[in-house]
Amino acid sequence: MEPKEIAELIKERFVSEVLDIKDFCDQVSVIVKKDRIKEIMKYLHSTPELYFDLLTDLCGVDYLGKKEPRFEVVYHLYSIKHRHMIRIKAEVADDECSIDSVVDIWAGADWHERECFDLYGIAFNGHPDLRRILMPEDWEGHPLRKDYPLKSDLGDMEWKGVKEVIEIAEKNKGYEVR
């Protein structure tokens, strides 16, 4: 099925949920509200003529200062049987930074959602094990947010692991290496 037809189908079924449909380079994005995201995903996964069985990718995007609401969670879905793909984007606001988890539809969403939580701070309701994954457990902040500094002098706020390394280096400064 053509991506545009799929987008129309979604719009027909969820009139109040679909905010916008965008088409660029033959790839169609459907922008939806986050409230009924799980229902939409279930529909896409279980309808025989759509049958999106492969969750290719799930990621977050931060549009700080570019638009409101600030975050988007982007789902790339693919159907191996029908060979078509669609992109679903759910808008997530900064003050209510959470969205329903889709782990019970696609098991593979597990780690993608953990990563999104780790790097963007978007919580996934109903996720079985929402922990940090790439950053250390005691890390503060969410590095992929646009207001997170790329490089800075954090001083006392520096992560303690780095402080330890600097201390050891300071201590060993006096020794000459021959």
Binding site: F24, L54, C59, V74, H76, R87, W106, L134, L150
Partner: protein, 399 residues
Amino acid sequence: MTAGTGEIKTKELTISMGPQHPATHGVLRVVLDLDGETVVKCTPYVGYLHRGTEKLAENRTYLSALPLMDRLDYISSMSNDIGYCVAVERLFGIEPPERAKYIRTIMGEMTRISSHIIGVATHALDIGAMTLFLYSFRDREWLLDLFEMTCGARLTVSYPRIGGVRNDVSQKFLDSLYKFTEEFPKKIEDEYETLIDQNRIWLQRTKGIGVISAEDAINWGLTGPTLRGSGVPYDVRKYAPYDAYDKVEFDVPIGKNGDVYDRYKCRMEELKQSNRIIKQCIEKMPTGPVMAPDAPKFTLPPKDKVLTDMESLIHQFVLITKGPMNAPEGEIYAATEVPKGELGFYIISDGTGKPYRLRLRAPSFVHVSVLPVLCKGGLVSDVIANIGTIDIVLGECDR
């Protein structure tokens, strides 16, 4: 234990395997809850090699983000670069010339061979078959020498460019590679397969181990040989061809049982198919330029032009310092089939010279997440076989 009653008290034991462990292929830590020798629960921990590639790429121009891609899956860096270039080209609407497409296809398949033989060899080494490891390094050396001949680097190549490849390949390269394709199938049959295909130890360690059904494999998002071992013929090269894959003939080998052995067989068959693709590409190789001429605002002008032509000098300067200035606003998801599976790039462009968001869909990341499913209920020794069979590189997993 109390003497005479015959009752033995047991309790679950938790052990940590890695991050420094020779069989975890990098810095993967797996925490195992054991009941005797049976794995009750397996929890992988990743992130030890996290370098913030996505964040770095957002702050670099499209051109200078390319070398970061080398360092994802560092044993198949050429494939990552090709994937990135294909994604950016689709975003910008650039069509690379035919010859560049063929060269990229050759390079991609050479990488697949070198990655698969390393994957299978380290997998076999973990299980106890050492000879294969030595053979594989001999063959990989040939391919790495050819990379070196073309671009000067063996591992972190940065050879493909947005709009083509950096430079043309020499006739000497093509001759040597053709000789390789003539000899390699015989080596697979005589040396690799006779060593382990019928080996009783190998069969006992791999058959019926780490079984995952086709349905589960898709649900977990597996791709590449790890998915095809379960009998799903999903291959990006066939489903959404890029470069010259629609102009060559090849088969997509699939397994049946979805166990460690079937995934191994898939990789072995893919070696032969890659060899076939390379051979066809050399035979069909068209002549012509290797960089898209119609995209001077996106691709670096040749060096001799820069030194003699004012406009080229300006283009070079702007491209290096600010990146492509007339990038379209939009977003694209482009997937390529790298040796490990489907490598996807999701790029959002806001019209500046730097990507607003660059998301990497790394196959290894998804494959590590399925490890608990493969290991549950198996023996400790099968954990090693399972880590080998999903063929992960932690550089790509942690990004």
